[in-house]
Structure formats: structure tokens, C-alpha cells
């Protein structure tokens, strides 16, 4: 009695399995969504998709692009003479510079040279990168004509794809919301920090290191953190970053860093960690020359 039943069941199972196996051949990733490319007047003139990682290997200047990618990821380890703290470029520039609202590099090459309010001057891309070395990475500038500087520029240029100079991919680098409209509550910020940040950045903002002593998660305050001249030391810059990019790894949607905090949360936690002790930046007195300094300018 049992044998025919099992035989029928077996045939049914094999038939279903065979059918699904065959049908599955048609499954692959959907076409990647494109971002609009707009010209200076805002007219849509094309589409942008980030170049595929695998295609990097086939580029003529692949060696330089790869070096640039590595320098942006592992700045502190690879450029110890220029980085004076535990941060890397990609501590703030999320997902290899590909994440909208996470300080992406996608438009960087096309946006520079650019007028920077802090310098009250037009800066080229090398000067802008060196601004990060001096402030966020609390170090010294990289030779503008060095192989390393060229490599970082080459990576950003690769990421731009075929978007021509003068055009932009229609993404936002950050959501600079009006932080001043919120009343910061650093006490509440500390509670949020303990619950949602300390697992990675440490109870004392010391970050987390790997087996080689390199930082996995950057220190948010203390001697190995960014200095007073860094954008991240200012609540108006820190809160928008935190809003869209922290905490990491709390969503099933790629890339990492999805909006889970409210603006008030982001303001409060930023009010807590930005004012912690950190290295000074003596040249800060030259920032915003001849114009009023912003309210969150860090004199000390």
C-alpha cells in the first residue's frame, strides 16, 4: 500500500522540482535604477548608473583607480604621514562614495573647482581633499602632484562615469536641514549615544580597532578623533550626516545606513558628541575670512 503512494509522491516532487529548476534560469537582477543627469539649467540630459565594480579592472588606469579606492578606504593605514588621527576619507563618505545623502563622490569631479564659504575662495579638488586631511584627518596636506592625490582623483573620476563636466547627477550630498530650528538636548543625546552608537564607537567615543590596530569604527572624540576644524565637529554638519547614515546596519535595504533616527534624535546625539574634547585646529581663525562665522563655529 505504501509503495505506490510513495512512488506517486516521488514523481510529483521530482516534477515540481524539475519545473522550478528549469524556470529559475530566467531569474537575474532587475535593471539597476538610473539617476537623472541634469545640465546647469536643470534639464534632464541623460541617465547615470554607478559604474560596476568589476569594470574597474578593465579601465586603462585601473591601477591608479584601485589605489585611489584603497586610499579613500584605508587612509590612516596607507598614508600615516598625512593622517594624524584614526579616520579615513570613507569614515564619512559612505559606501565607497556612492551613497546619496552620505557625502558621495559622484559629482565631486564635476563640482570642482568650487566656491567654498569657509575659505571664501574657489578651491580645486586637490585643495578640497587636503582640507579633509588637515581637519577631519587632523593631519598634513598631501602633495597635490603626488601619485596618491592623482589616484584619489582618478577614483572619483571613474565614479563620475560618462557624466560630462557642466552636468550633474541629480543627487543630494547631504540633507542640510535647518538644525537651528531644533533645540539640542545633549542629555537625551547621551542616552541615544549609549543605546545606538556605543556598540561600535565605544563608550568613551574611542572607536574600535581591528587585529592590526587599524580603526574599524572611527573614534568620535579624544586625541585620535577629528579636530575642531572639521565639519563633523559642527552640529549643523554632523546632524545631517547622522540623520541619514547612522547607525549602520539597521536596515535590510542596501546600502548600509538608512534613516532610522528622527531629526531631533540626530540633533541631540550630535550635540552630545561634537562638543567632546578633541584636537585643536589653530588655523580655524582663518576660516570664514571677512564674513561672520557660523553659529556653530568651534572656537574651542
Amino acid at each position: 500500500m505504501n509503495k505506490p503512494i510513495i512512488a506517486v509522491a516521488a514523481i510529483a516532487v521530482i516534477a515540481v522540482a524539475g519545473w522550478t529548476w528549469n524556470e529559475s534560469r530566467y531569474y537575474d537582477a532587475p535593471e539597476r535604477p538610473a539617476l537623472n543627469v541634469v545640465d546647469i539649467d536643470g534639464n534632464i540630459v541623460g541617465e547615470y548608473r554607478a559604474p560596476l565594480a568589476r569594470d574597474m579592472l578593465a579601465e586603462e588606469n585601473a591601477e591608479s583607480i584601485i589605489l585611489g579606492m584603497r586610499l579613500l578606504n584605508e587612509t590612516a593605514r596607507l598614508l600615516p604621514d598625512n593622517v594624524g588621527d584614526g579616520l579615513n576619507c570613507n569614515s564619512c563618505h559612505m559606501a565607497q562614495g556612492k551613497r546619496p545623502l552620505g557625502a558621495p563622490y559622484i559629482n565631486t569631479i564635476n563640482d570642482y573647482p568650487k566656491f567654498m564659504p569657509r575659505a571664501q575662495d574657489v578651491l580645486n579638488i586637490q585643495e578640497r581633499i587636503n582640507g579633509c586631511f588637515r581637519r577631519s584627518m587632523n593631519g598634513v596636506p598631501l602633495d597635490e602632484s603626488s601619485v596618491e592625490m592623482q589616484a584619489m582623483v582618478d577614483y572619483m573620476d571613474w565614479l563620475r562615469g560618462d557624466v560630462e563636466k557642466g552636468n550633474r547627477v541629480s543627487i543630494q550630498n547631504m540633507e542640510y536641514f535647518k538644525v537651528g530650528q531644533f533645540t539640542p538636548d545633549p542629555v537625551r543625546g547621551e542616552q541615544i549615544y549609549v543605546q545606538q552608537c556605543a556598540s561600535c564607537h565605544g563608550g568613551n567615543g574611542e572607536g574600535m580597532k581591528d587585529q592590526f590596530g587599524d580603526f574599524i569604527f572611527p573614534p568620535l572624540w579624544g586625541d585620535e578623533s577629528f579636530n575642531l576644524g572639521a565639519g563633523m565637529a559642527r552640529i549643523s554638519r554632523a546632524a545631517p550626516f547622522v540623520l541619514h547614515n547612522m547607525p549602520l546596519g539597521v536596515s535590510l535595504d542596501a546600502p548600509l545606513g538608512q534613516i532610522t533616527l528622527s531629526k531631533q534624535d540626530a540633533v541631540d546625539v550630535s550635540a552630545y558628541f561634537t562638543v567632546k574634547p578633541r584636537p585643536d585646529f589653530p588655523d580655524k581663525i582663518h576660516d570664514w575670512p571677512g564674513v561672520p562665522k557660523p553659529p556653530d563655529f568651534r572656537a574651542h
Binding site: V16, A29, R54, M69, Q96, D210, G249, L256, Q264
Partner: protein, 465 residues
């Protein structure tokens, strides 16, 4: 000739009628309601508390709660090759739940898989495991469900399996063949602690429901290590590979007993983390286990010998990957995709970040015999168990958007990097998993029973925009 056909048709009809008739009679003689059921004092707080513990060990809530739905109200969809079946409402609501179950009804449903209306349950309900639970445990669970679970009015959802496969009478035959009554048998060669672990693993904790390979009739190939080395030898369910829990190279050989206890209690160790269904098992079940039970389970699993033909230990090859990636010698598609998509969290050394991002180097699910879980967690993402032991439960985002070729390349790199070694993953394997992910079952939660989550926020008064 014509006559022969008539006889054949007639015989088939007789056989079918006979098969149905036997099936219909099965509940009455094969698994009748118990005589003289005990009087269970469902108001006894001590019994209720015990029942809550056993219900957690049995992890009833995991299957009997739909994502976003009310606890124990059912509606969780489970994918079968023929359609979805839905878990049932086991709250004490008298109309739609089990509120009218006598103790004898409850006992028979849990241990024998038969409803009060004498219809057999789908073997998705692990009654073959629960069968060995002790009377006092079932009684305590009855008290808990009747007195401490909130009744929810929610109709049971009908399975989407089409006729004739949705007929339930063949399930009675399934029970006759695969669910013969059994009792727990101690293994004299094990310690008392290990035997206690075996009792939990084979019984209420029903580890074999996912970790034991299933046969052609969806039956677990073995219900106890005393029967066969197929017990807990690893199995695929809904595209997740529940790995071998035997003390063998591709099983738990690289785990220590302490690590197992830590894993079951917190859902993670310093180098790995539960994901997929195991994450829910930890979150809803094992995190509540007593130390005694956890150690018993860990000790028992470590006692399971390797299968014949399987290496007892796992030997990593030399790690050349860390140095290659750190030196920037990046030449293969798998490597560049890893650096671009994965390395920010899992790192150049494949070691991740302790208790935050799992290591890939020497992670037993990465080099598991069957790569299904590795593929699915990469494609669909995963979430750690949220327990009281860690402040944050992290997720891995899904990389569904990467092409089959990209995923195959990067997974083969991971599966053979840092000293890992495992079988090749093909683009066809990726395609097949994409189909599974696309067809993931939907769940049934009626509008009025949507469980508004207590938003993790964090600190009182936070508003989420």
C-alpha cells in the same frame, strides 16, 4: 482488453475509496483522545510560568505569529513546492483559536498532530518531535495557553495549495507511515547532562525540524541520533540551509561548547551571528533557556559523531587573502566586488567587527556543505537576534541588486578566501535562490490585528518623522 481496463479502473476506485476510508478512521484508533485526561489547574501561577518556559523551548510563537501580527494568532505563511500553508491561531479565543480545546484535545494536537475535528495537521507542525515531551510539560503549556496568552480573534487562513493536493486525508497516511508513537530513549553511552540535551533537542526544541534532512515525503529522515547519523546532518528549508549540528568538519567541529551556549543565548559570538530563521529562534526561544538547558544542549550536540565519510575536523588552508587585499593586489572580479561592496564591514581580514559584523574567515556557514544560506543572506539580507544581551541588533542589507555573475564571483571569493574552502557556486545557484526569494511566502495579518510595534525609539518622547 476493454474488460481489463474496466477491472483496472474499478480496482483503482476501490483502492482509493479504501485509502480514504482508512485515512478517515486513523485518528480514532491510531491516535485517539486520551482516556481519563488529568485535571489541569490552568489557574496555577506556577504551572503557567512553567508552561511559558516550555512554550518558549518549543518556540510555538515563531511559527504561530505572522510578522507584524499578534502573538500566537497564526497567519505565518510557509512555502511548500505546491503553495503556501499558514500557521493557525493558537490563542485561547474560543471561536477562532483553541479556547474550546480540552486538555485532551490540546495534548493530541501537540503530540499527535490531530485536530479536535479528527483532521490531521500538516507536518510543518513538529508533533513528531513534541511527541516525546513529558506529560507535565504538556500540561503546563496547556495552562499557559489557556490562561496567560491573550485571546485574539483571527480566522485561520486557507492554504493556497490547489486541489487535489490540498486534500487532507492523505496526511493521515503520512502519520501512519512517519509519525508512529515513540518515547524518548536515553543513550547509556552519554552523560546525564547530554541525555537531557538530547531530550530537549529531539523533543520540544525540535532542532531536527530544520536541521535534519527530509525525505521524499517531507519526513525528517531521522528523529534521534540513536536511529541514524542523518539526525541534524543539515537541511534546506525555504532556501535557508540549516547546517549540520554534528561534531564534524562541516558541522560544529570548529565551535566550542561555550561558544554554542553563547550563540544560543545571545544570537552571536565574537565572530559569528545567527541570521535567517535561526535569528528568530534565538530571539524568541533559546535566549530564554536556563543555563542548565543550554549547556545540556551544547554538550549533547558536541557528542554527535561525524557522519561516515565526513572529516571530523575542519582544517583551514593558509590565509593568503588578507595580505593580498591589504597590499592592494586586486586582480579578480570577486576581489574588487568584495572590496567595494563587503569590505567596509567584513574587512580586508574577513574578520568583521566583534559582535557587530560577523567574520567570514572561518565562519562555518560560509564554507558549509550547502551554500544556500550564504547565498540567501547575501541576496536578501539578514537580521541578528535582538536580545537583552546586546544593545543593538544589526542587519546585513540584501544585495539583490547585484547580478548573478557578481554574486557568484564574490561568494566564491568569500567561500575560498582567508583559508575557507568550499564547493563552487554557479550563476545558476544564484538564479535558483533568486526564484526562492521572489516567491517568499506572504503572511496573513488582518488589518485589525496589525501589531503596532513599540518603536525601538530609543528614548521616550522621540518622534519619528
Amino acid at each position: 482488453m476493454k474488460k481489463a481496463t474496466q477491472i483496472a479502473i474499478f480496482s483503482c476506485a476501490v483502492l482509493l475509496v479504501g485509502a480514504v476510508a482508512v485515512a478517515k478512521s486513523v485518528p480514532y484508533w491510531f491516535a485517539p483522545l486520551m482516556d481519563n485526561p488529568p485535571q489541569v489547574d490552568i489557574t496555577d501561577p506556577e504551572l503557567i510560568a512553567k508552561g511559558q518556559y516550555y512554550a518558549r523551548v518549543a518556540d510555538c510563537v515563531a511559527c504561530h505569529t505572522a510578522p507584524g501580527g499578534k502573538a500566537f494568532a497564526g497567519g505565518l505563511g510557509m512555502q511548500t513546492p505546491l503553495g503556501a500553508i499558514y500557521s493557525t491561531n493558537i490563542t485561547p479565543d474560543p471561536e477562532t483559536g483553541i479556547g474550546n480545546y480540552s486538555y485532551a484535545d490540546f495534548e493530541r494536537a501537540v503530540r499527535r498532530g490531530i485536530r479536535p475535528d479528527n483532521v490531521a495537521l500538516y507536518p510543518a507542525m513538529p508533533f513528531v518531535s513534541y511527541m516525546i515531551a513529558k506529560d507535565d510539560e504538556i500540561e503546563a503549556m496547556y495552562a499557559y495557553f489557556m490562561s496567560a496568552v491573550l485571546p485574539v480573534k483571527q480566522d485561520n487562513q486557507v492554504a493556497t495549495i490547489p486541489w487535489p493536493a490540498n486534500m487532507r486525508w492523505p496526511l493521515a497516511w503520512w502519520q501512519l507511515i512517519f509519525a508512529q508513537p515513540r518515547e524518548f530513549e536515553e543513550n547509556p553511552s552519554l552523560t546525564a547532562q547530554q541525555n537531557h540535551g538530547a531530550y530537549l533537542v529531539e523533543g520540544l526544541a525540535h532542532c531536527g525540524a530544520c536541521h535534519t534532512p527530509r525525505g521524499i515525503g517531507f519526513q525528517e529522515k531521522s528523529l534521534s541520533n540513536n536511529d541514524s547519523e542523518q539526525f541534524l546532518a543539515g537541511s534546506v528549508l525555504e532556501g535557508w540551509y540549516a547546517k549540520s549540528l554534528r561534531n564534524e568538519g562541516v558541522g560544529l567541529a570548529i565551535w566550542s561548547e561555550e561558544e554554542l551556549v553563547e550563540f544560543l543565548r545571545t544570537g552571536r559570538t565574537h565572530h559569528t551571528a545567527a541570521f535567517g530563521s535561526m535569528s528568530e529562534v534565538v530571539e524568541k526561544s533559546t535566549q530564554y533557556f536556563t543555563d542548565t538547558d543550554l549547556h545540556a544542549i551544547a554538550s549533547y550536540l558536541m557528542s554527535l559523531p561525524p557522519r561516515k565519510g565526513y572529516a571530523a575536523n575542519w582544517q583551514p588552508t593558509e590565509d593568503t587573502t588578507t595580505a593580498k587585499l591589504r597590499s592592494g593586489n586586486i586582480t579578480e572580479p570577486g576581489e574588487i566586488i568584495y572590496v567595494q561592496e563587503c569590505a567596509a564591514c567584513h574587512r580586508m581580514d574577513g574578520k568583521g567587527a566583534p559582535r557587530v559584523f560577523p567574520a567570514l574567515a572561518g565562519n562555518s556557514i560560509v564554507f558549509a556543505e550547502d551554500p544556500s544560506s550564504l547565498i540567501q543572506v547575501t541576496m536578501a539580507g539578514g537580521k541578528m537576534a535582538d536580545t537583552k544581551h546586546d544593545m543593538m541588533a544589526f542587519t546585513m542589507p540584501g544585495f539583490y541588486h547585484l547580478s548573478n555573475q557578481d554574486l557568484a564571483d564574490v561568494l566564491n571569493f568569500i567561500r575560498n578566501g582567508w583559508g575557507n574552502h568550499g564547493s563552487e557556486i554557479s550563476t545558476r545557484d544564484i538564479a535558483r535562490m533568486r526564484r526562492v526569494v521572489d516567491h517568499a511566502p506572504t503572511h496573513y495579518v488582518p488589518h485589525e490585528n496589525v501589531n503596532v510595534p513599540q518603536f525601538s525609539s530609543i528614548v521616550g518622547g522621540a518622534s519619528h518623522e
